[in-house]
Amino acid sequence: MMLIPCPWCGDRLDAEFTCGGEAHIMRPDPATASDAEWADYLFMRENPKGLHHERWFHAHGCRRWFHMTRDTASHRIVAVYAITESAPEASG
């Protein structure tokens, strides 16, 4: 159970949110991507024990997407940033 600081609504219970999984996955060019690159894009995940950049959606609130960096072992939230931004440097 986490208290998630939505950039628009402030601190809310995690039950109000939907997690959209790993962030910053780049879609390869379908015209040139190999099967291996396509599989990597579709299915392979970092799934780290530690800091994880991910997308969250405030489903039962403002209904907006944002990014969050979270420690998957301790659930400590270290950064919240806009859905248009790239991962913060040296978050930790």
Binding site: M1, L13, D14, A15, T18, C19, G21, D35, A36, W38, A39, D40, L42, F43, M44, R45, E46, N47, P48, K49, H52, E54, R70, T72, A73, S74, H75
Partner: protein
């Protein structure tokens, strides 16, 4: 020493003081023929069948905690084989058959109890899906029968089949040969037999690195020193991605917390297992009398072996409506395990691009039932350096070829 009536009587006058230790606690050697990472049920079964079926017993099973302390000791022990696709049906059925004789085979009572498993339908779609799965099962020679709400009520009188509840019971499907087994006993029985056959089970030994030279594995780094081996099988469940990344591999799994709980013990009220995908509730009664209740996974990646209380609340809401007596019971314990979920809800039992490195993971919320079968095919894969017919479809290559084995329907409820 064999566990038998004769030995039980012989030990009685000595006050049962002379029973030997069930397994040794050896120091790691410098090198082995095979290293297995993870002493859960699957890892122990792999080591056992490597020794029993393939004559390879210079094996070490390395465990970061204690054996059976992972998902093997945290699951709700449902064992069944009523899966949709041929590939899964054959694999899980093979495992169910091994379960049927596992106690005799291991000389250890794993308390396999084929008390039947019922899947409930709460809407038209559920009914159709269960019927479709039933046809598939019967074509694969797996027992499966549709049951009416009345029949379910007769088998399990504590269920509420009133039409006026939010998700009424419209029917169900039952696999009578399915049931439960005692999870700890499966781990202990496999550990004891593997140890007797010469396998070193090394606990409190965390693998921290995997040595790869020229595309081949050569050994592992651990908290108890370096150990060499040319064949390494990783069976780390929720930590699959962490272990694979030590060898530079990426996997298509994500780790989530999955929770379960038990009530205070009561007199026998339920002698079967009932599960429901739609309201995500499943229930059985342990031999101690506790009702064993399973919840769902948290919706985000986690390695903390602790889940959200809202997930428990959600599960209890459905439970109290379907089984009203539960509302009067106290919950004694709630716990979590970290499960590795694959995109098609099917396991990965596979060779990898690294020679001599094999991976067995992705069992997610439902791998206890596969414990002996998974170990059996994984031992074959390691010993012969190629998959068995039963697991060749469950390789890593399926994520490139697109030949996924979509078992979300049969595996959707976490069990």
């Amino acid at each position: 020493m064999k566990y038998s009536l004769w030995n039980l009587l012989r030990q009685a006058p000595r006050g049962h003081r002379d029973w030997p230790q069930a397994w040794r606690n050896p120091e790691p050697k410098e090198a082995y023929d095979v290293i297995i990472i993870g002493a859960g049920g699957h890892g122990l079964a792999t080591a056992y069948y490597l020794a029993k079926e393939h004559g390879i017993s210079r094996t070490a099973v390395l465990e970061k905690g204690w054996l059976g302390g992972g998902n093997t000791g945290r699951n709700t022990t449902i064992v069944r084989s009523n899966y949709l696709w041929d590939e899964s049906a054959h694999l899980y059925e093979h495992s169910l058959r091994l379960f049927e004789t596992l106690s005799q085979d291991l000389n250890f009572n794993v308390m396999f109890s084929p008390r039947g498993v019922i899947n409930l339908a709460h809407n038209e779609h559920d009914l159709k899906e269960l019927r479709r799965r039933g046809h598939a099962c019967r074509l694969n020679g797996i027992d499966y029968e549709m049951v009416t709400p009345r029949e379910i009520k007769e088998i399990a009188p504590i269920i509420n089949i009133s039409r006026s509840i939010r998700y009424p019971v419209l029917g169900g499907a039952m696999q009578r040969r399915a049931g439960n087994a005692r999870h700890d006993a499966v781990a202990w029985g496999l550990a004891r037999r593997a140890d007797e056959l010469g396998v070193d089970i090394i606990q409190n030994c965390e693998v921290t690195g995997i040595d790869v030279r020229d595309g081949r594995v050569t050994g592992v780094q651990t908290t108890r020193g370096a150990i060499r081996a040319n064949r390494i099988g990783a069976v780390p469940a929720g930590h699959a991605s962490v272990v694979a990344s030590m060898a530079g591999l990426r996997l298509p799994v994500e780790s989530h917390a999955l929770q379960a709980m038990v009530t205070e013990p009561v007199k026998p009220v339920l002698d079967t297992v009932i599960m429901s995908n739609t309201v995500h509730v499943y229930i059985s009664q342990s031999d101690k009398g506790e009702l064993v209740l399973g919840a769902g996974i948290d919706g985000y990646n986690s390695y903390s072996q602790k889940g959200g209380i809202n997930v428990i609340e959600h599960q209890l809401e459905g439970l109290c409506e379907l089984y009203p007596i539960v509302s009067r019971l106290k919950i004694m314990r709630v716990w979590g395990g970290i499960v590795d979920i694959a995109p098609d809800a099917s396991p990965i039992i596979s060779k990898t691009p690294i020679e001599g490195f094999y991976i067995n993971c992705g069992w997610g919320t439902g791998g206890f039932k596969a414990t002996p079968g998974s170990g059996w095919v994984f031992a074959h894969t390691i010993a012969q350096d190629r998959p068995h017919r039963l697991n060749e479809a469950f390789d890593l290559g399926r994520f490139e070829s697109g030949l996924l084995i979509d078992e979300h329907g049969a595996a959707a409820v976490a069990h």
